[in-house]
C-alpha cells in the first residue's frame, strides 16, 4: 500500500525539515525546564554575576501580557512550550509522505516559527533594555526559534521543500 495519493511522485523528506524537528525537540526541553521552574517543580535558581535567570523569571515580564498590564497573563515559558510542541508536531507531520510536499505545512511552520521569533526578539529587548538581566535559557530559546524559522524558509520556496525522487 502506498502512503501517497494516487498519481503523486514520492519525495525525499528535506534535510532542513528534519533538522527543524530536532531543534524543536530541543526547544521543548528548554521551555519545559523553564515551565517546571515556573510551576515550582525545580528549586530556586542562583542570581549570577553574569546573567540573571532568576531575575528574569521573577519579573512581571515572565508573563504575557506582562503583569505591568494585567495580573491574568500566561507564563511565557508555558507559551514557549506550547509553541515548540506545535512546531514539533506540524514538522513531524510534514515529514510523512502524504504531507512532505504540502504547501500548507510549509506555510504553517514558517508562520509559527516567525511569530515565535518576533516574540523572542521582544523578550530579548525586555531583558536588555528593561530588566537589564539575562536569562541564559531564554537566550538559548531565542536562538533555537530563530534557527527553526530559518530552517522553515526553504520549504516556502518549493512547497514542502522536498525534492521529488524517482521511484526506482
Amino acid at each position: 500500500m502506498s502512503y501517497l495519493p494516487d498519481g503523486e511522485e514520492a519525495a525525499e523528506p528535506p534535510l532542513s525539515r528534519m533538522l527543524l524537528v530536532v531543534v524543536a525537540l530541543v526547544g521543548i526541553f528548554v521551555a519545559g525546564y523553564l515551565t517546571l521552574h515556573r510551576f515550582g517543580f525545580i528549586g530556586s535558581l542562583q542570581c549570577g554575576v553574569v546573567g540573571g535567570c532568576e531575575t528574569v523569571q521573577a519579573s512581571a515580564y515572565a508573563f504575557f501580557p506582562p503583569r505591568t498590564v494585567t495580573e491574568n497573563g500566561v507564563s511565557v515559558a508555558l507559551i514557549g512550550l506550547m509553541g515548540y510542541l506545535t512546531i514539533f508536531g506540524v514538522g513531524l507531520a510534514g515529514l510523512q509522505p502524504r504531507f512532505v510536499r504540502s504547501r500548507a505545512i510549509a506555510v504553517a511552520l514558517a508562520l509559527l516559527s516567525g511569530a515565535g521569533t518576533v516574540f523572542s526578539l521582544w523578550l530579548t529587548y525586555v531583558e536588555a533594555a528593561i530588566l537589564e538581566a539575562w536569562c541564559q535559557w531564554c537566550v538559548v530559546s531565542a536562538v533555537l526559534i530563530t534557527v527553526i524559522f530559518l530552517l522553515s524558509l526553504p520549504g516556502l520556496r518549493s512547497g514542502g521543500g522536498a525534492q521529488p525522487s524517482p521511484i526506482r
Binding site: 500500500m1 502506498s2 502512503y3 501517497l4 514520492a10 525525499e12 523528506p13 528534519m18 524537528v21 530536532v22 525537540l25 530541543v26 521543548i28 526541553f29 519545559g32 525546564y33 517546571l36 517543580f41 525545580i42 528549586g43 530556586s44 535558581l45 542562583q46 542570581c47 549570577g48 554575576v49 553574569v50 540573571g52 532568576e54 531575575t55 523569571q57 521573577a58 512581571a60 515529514l95 509522505p97 512532505v100 537589564e132 538581566a133 521511484i167 526506482r168
Partner: protein
Amino acid sequence: MARKPGKQQSKSLQPFYIILGAVAVVGAVVVLWQTRGGGSAAMDPVPVVISQEELSRVQGISIGRDDAPVVIYEFADFQCPGCGQFASFTSPLIKERLVETGRVRFVYYDFPLTQMHQHAFLASRAARCANDQERFWDYHDVLYGRQPTWSSMGNATGYFIDLAAELGLDEGEFSACLRSDRHQEEISRNMQLGQMLGVSGTPTLFINMKRLGGIPSFAELEQIVEAEMGGAPAEPAAAQP
C-alpha cells in the same frame, strides 16, 4: 516491479528517528537531573583556602553560638529572588532546627550584584543600619519578604526608612545612617571576600569553609551539617526550646 514509496521513505527516515530518539532521551535525562536538584555532585562541598585570620578581618552578621561545631556562611543579595526564596523557606528552618539547637552558627555576608540589581547595595546598607540598632535579622526578614515591592521602585530610600519605622527602630538614627556612607566600605569588603572565595552567584553557601555548588533544600543542608558533625543524628524539632 516498482518499490512502495511509503516503505522506502520510512526506511530513509530511520536514521532521523534514531537521532530524534537520542535527543529525546538526553533531554529527558537532563531535565530530570535538574528537577532532582542537579544531582548530589552539584551539592558536594568544595573546600576553599582561606585562613581564619583573613576571614575575621571581614565582618559578617552572625547568629548562633560562637562555639557551634558547624558554621554556615551565606553570601547573598537582598534584591536577588533566589536569595528571597532561600530566606523565606530555608533560613527559618536553619534558625529553628540548627542554630537554636546549638549545632550551627550562621553568618550572613553581603554580596550585592550591583550590575543587575539597582537597590541591592542600598538594601545591604539599610540592613547594616538596622544592625546598628541590633535588629538586623528582623530587617533582613522584612526586606526579603517585601522584595517584589521595593525592587521595582525608582528610589527605595524612603521605603527602607518606612520599613525601619514599622519595625520600631529609631527612624532618625536609621535615616541618618542610610543617608550617610556608613557601612559602604564594610559591604565592599564583604564583596571582595566573596570574590576571593569564588562566589559567582547568590545565594552561595559555605559550610565550614567548603563551598556548595548550588542552593540546597533544608534536608540536603541538614545532611551536610550532620556529615560535618561526624554523623550526629538530628534532634527532634519538638525538643527545641
